[in-house]
């Protein structure tokens, strides 16, 4: 609800298709960095957009924004300008190559990498303003378990945890799951295993994580947190190629195995999280 005049027509006046409850907020997170979290967020956003959904990706990695790098964007206005009151939020919402919208954090956000009450409020305001305008908001969170990550994850109704089969990634994913189970009382977390070698790897890994959780992580409810395997993204040389060219994989090489896996993941997400048939 910005009161600053915006040069572009805003969508605050609800379109007819608007869902009454606003966007589904999904936090895309990971135990450690470098597992392809931002890559998944950006390409998943493109895949969901292709399915006719209105998608926004919010760079919630306040200190270390990478979405601009992945999408090859050079934004003039970022969340930093919104937080400091220099720009309206509408001006910070920019169009990404895949047809979805993004709000980037900007490098000046380093000073916000600690979660003061002001940052918390600013962040909440941004989310609340954007929610009615979209079907899905993906929060591209930071890696690890900082308080900013935990806070941005707490705003999401669903958590999509990206991990790779590497032991270090799995250990850190497990640590993150543990914290989310205990600190946020999450009932379930959705898993995407990136860079898998063969079909079934992700399901096996998710199953193994689940067993360790059930053995070692006590929850208040007594029921263990449930990991839901949403899909695998196979190791695919095309990914590296797209990342190096700073292009969306789904636009550049839509037929490659990784792109098809992401399209499938989008289908599953729409099916399980976004079907409004109950309305």
């Amino acid at each position: 609800m910005s009161d600053a005049p915006s040069p572009t027509p805003t969508v605050t006046t609800a379109p007819a298709s608007q869902s009454p409850q606003g966007a589904r907020i999904i936090a895309v997170t990971s135990g450690k960095g470098g597992v392809g979290k931002t890559f998944v967020s950006a390409n998943l956003a493109a895949a969901l957009t292709r399915r006719g959904l209105r998608v926004l990706v919010l760079d919630a990695d306040l200190g270390l924004a990478n979405l601009d790098v992945v999408l090859n964007l050079h934004p003039k206005i970022t969340l930093h300008d919104v937080f400091t009151g220099k720009s309206s939020l509408d001006d910070a919402v920019i169009a990404a190559p895949g047809g979805f919208s993004v709000v980037l954090a900007g490098s000046g956000m380093v000073e916000y990498s600690r979660l003061t009450p002001e940052v918390r409020n600013q962040f909440l305001n941004v989310i609340q303003t954007l929610t009615p305008r979209y079907d899905v908001i993906l929060l591209d969170t930071g890696a690890g378990i900082s308080d900013v990550v935990l806070f941005s994850v707490s705003l999401a109704s669903e958590v999509l945890l990206v991990a790779t089969p590497e032991p270090t990634s799995l250990t850190d994913a497990y640590a993150a799951i543990k914290v989310l189970a205990m600190q946020q009382k999450r009932q379930h977390i959705r898993m995407v295993v990136n860079q898998t070698a063969r079909p079934g790897d992700g399901r096996t890994i998710t199953g193994q994580l689940q067993q360790v959780l059930e053995r070692f992580v006590a929850t208040d409810s007594g029921r263990p947190l449930r990991l839901i395997h949403m899909g695998d993204i196979p190791a695919d040389p095309a990914v590296r190629d797209a990342v190096m060219r700073r292009q969306l994989l789904l636009l550049q090489i839509p037929g490659c195995p990784a792109a098809m896996a992401i399209a499938q993941l989008a289908g599953k997400i729409e099916e399980t999280l976004l079907s409004r048939t109950t309305a």
Binding site: G34, P167, A197, T204, V212
Partner: protein, 255 residues
């Protein structure tokens, strides 16, 4: 650069050192070039003495707030880099104003000095203990694991409670402290201000819950034990069960 006493870079007689020397207690050193020292050695000792003074609380001899601030900054850098835990404790003498009001400020100073000396016997050499201000003290404990923080703070609290302070020939005062603590977490790039804020908040909680107690900020337990790792990796990465997965991991772990 070699220089001798016959050609000093600085002639000490040109410097106004009297204030510095009186601060250092060298009141008798009217002529500031004692035998056996070159002027630069002498000047170095004066500078060292002043630095030492500027880092210490005069009443208790503990680190002062300025020194503590520098230690905290360094500790945050270290934690960010190493991922180790570090605990900050803020300690406040309970109902200290009553001591001052009832027995006078000299008695109050005595209590501060005694508490300071008891506290310094409670900590490890690597820990830094400071007088933070008034009747508030602070300790930073590097490499203090989450499981031990509460025990350390409890031990400090009990020791203070068990050590009455003699404020004059006949009067012994029971002294208690409240302790608040917060960890600098791994993965977090924090600031000293926010870290002390969090510990202060816990101290406030300890006070409002009745004093003479310890409150330490609950931190999400993100440690993964060897047992958990064993169960996690055992079936996934053994050559028999997951040969393909483990060889793939070795080859593709470049990023």
């Amino acid at each position: 650069m070699p220089h001798t006493a016959s050609s000093p870079l600085v002639d000490l007689r040109d410097l106004r050192l009297d204030t510095a020397l009186s601060l250092l207690g060298h009141v008798d050193s009217a002529y500031p070039s004692p035998a056996g020292h070159t002027p630069s050695q002498y000047l170095q000792s004066v500078i060292d003495g002043l630095c030492d003074l500027s880092l210490k609380d005069p009443l208790t001899g503990l680190a002062n707030r300025r020194h503590f601030q520098a230690v905290l900054e360094r500790e945050i850098d270290r934690v960010t880099r190493s991922g180790e835990a570090a605990l900050l404790l803020m300690l406040d003498i309970d109902r200290f104003k009553q001591v001052n009001d009832t027995y006078g400020h000299l008695a109050g100073d005595k209590v501060l000095q005694n508490v300071a000396s008891t506290l310094s016997n409670c900590i490890r050499p690597m820990d830094t203990l400071a007088r933070y201000g008034g009747e508030e003290f602070a300790v930073v404990l590097p490499a203090c694991q989450a499981a031990f923080g509460k025990a350390v703070a409890e031990r400090i609290r009990r020791t203070i409670a068990a050590t009455p302070v003699r404020i004059d020939g006949s009067t012994m005062l029971d002294v208690t402290i409240s302790i608040g603590g917060a960890y600098a977490l791994q993965w977090i790039r924090s600031t000293t201000l926010l870290w002390t804020d969090r510990a202060d908040h816990e101290l406030y909680r300890a006070k409002s819950e009745g004093r003479n107690r310890v409150c330490i900020e609950e931190q999400p337990d993100s440690t993964v034990t060897a047992e958990e790792k064993g169960m996690l990796f055992g079936p996934l990465y053994t050559p028999s069960g997951w040969g393909d997965l483990s060889s793939m991991t070795l080859n593709d772990s470049a990023h």
